[in-house]
Amino acid sequence: MDRRETVMAALLEIVNEVAGPVEHLDPDQLLVDGLGLESLHLARLVAVLELELDTDPFSDDVPITGVRTVGDLLDAYDPVAQPRLGAVEPA
């Protein structure tokens, strides 16, 4: 399973708990206003993914406030996509 699939699987598990059975999520779906996730759900998701992937992109590089959609979340764990979320690019 690659990183984006791992993130999606963890997200789906939490969304299933919060909003009932969901099989697919679109990248433009809103995490809080659309899927009903609260900040503690996001904290849990980040904690689960730190155990799975051994990384927490929000500890340094990416501001969690910049993550609004499913796509933003996938990008945050994708080193190639990260700069779009506000990480400082090397000069």
Partner: protein
């Protein structure tokens, strides 16, 4: 074939090399936990204990190094895939009138007595929230509950820990994690070794139960608070002081 997953719970105890911390390490081991602890240096007793069992691991760590603290927890969580209990035990005493205490000594005490537990808790909450289960025990003090000459900074740090307990209890309660403060009174330990006979008599006289506490008194309460019997207790400060502050 994959190795079977080790189901034993995991406790992290800061400052587990001597005193109450070492007693906590022994107690968790007796209860079937795996224990991760750290301190600046290792005592002979802990070294001996580690030779007897591989269920306890010790790391040499300066608690004022934030990055090292985070890495310590991350390594433990990676190794065990869980953290069930954190006991914020490590602390340093700081005695003296505030105006006669050097700012550098105040800063060092606040780092060990407040910043370290905050950072440790932050790191340990992640695996706890991930598994929707865990208990954080903050070792407070009766000096957080009652004013006492000469220990204002120590008391302030401990009172801040009690505030952390209450705030976090609300924050992580919905994720299945409990946070409790334990505030021991005067009990026989390294930190009270300097108390003179007169003061000891005065404390005993003021204590309804008529004696100083023991390490076992504190252990018993932590044993309870980390057991399922305390599953509905969070956000509280439990004084273990023989009634000294009642």
């Amino acid at each position: 074939m994959n190795a079977p997953v080790d189901q034993r719970p995991v406790a992290i105890v800061s400052g587990g090399s001597r005193g109450l911390g070492l007693a906590l390490v022994r107690d968790f081991l007796e209860r079937g936990y795996r224990v991760e602890t750290f301190s600046r240096s290792e005592s002979a007793e802990l070294k001996e204990l580690r030779a007897e069992t591989d269920a306890v691991a010790w790391t040499a760590l300066d608690g004022t190094d934030a990055a090292a603290v985070e890495e310590f927890v991350r390594t433990a969580a990676r190794r065990h895939r869980r953290v069930d209990v954190l006991v914020n035990n490590a602390a340093v005493g700081l005695e003296g009138l505030l105006t006669l205490t050097a700012p550098a000594a105040i800063d060092a005490a606040l780092r060990t007595n407040l910043t370290l537990p905050v950072l440790l808790t932050r790191a340990c909450l992640k695996p706890m929230i991930a598994r929707r289960s865990g208990v954080v025990i903050n070792l407070s003090s009766i000096n957080a509950l009652r004013g006492q000459t000469g220990v204002a900074v120590y008391g302030a740090a401990k009172a801040a820990l009690d505030g952390l307990t209450r705030g976090l209890a609300r924050e992580v309660g919905p994720a299945g994690v409990r946070v409790v403060s334990v505030a021991p009174g005067y009990f026989d330990s390294d930190m009270t070794a300097g108390i003179g006979e007169d003061q000891r008599r005065r404390i005993t006289r003021r204590t309804p139960l008529g004696r100083l506490g023991s390490v076992e008194d504190v252990l018993g309460v932590i044993r309870f608070l980390t057991s399922p019997a305390a599953g509905f207790i969070t956000g509280q400060t439990i004084a273990v002081d023989g009634g000294y502050t009642c």
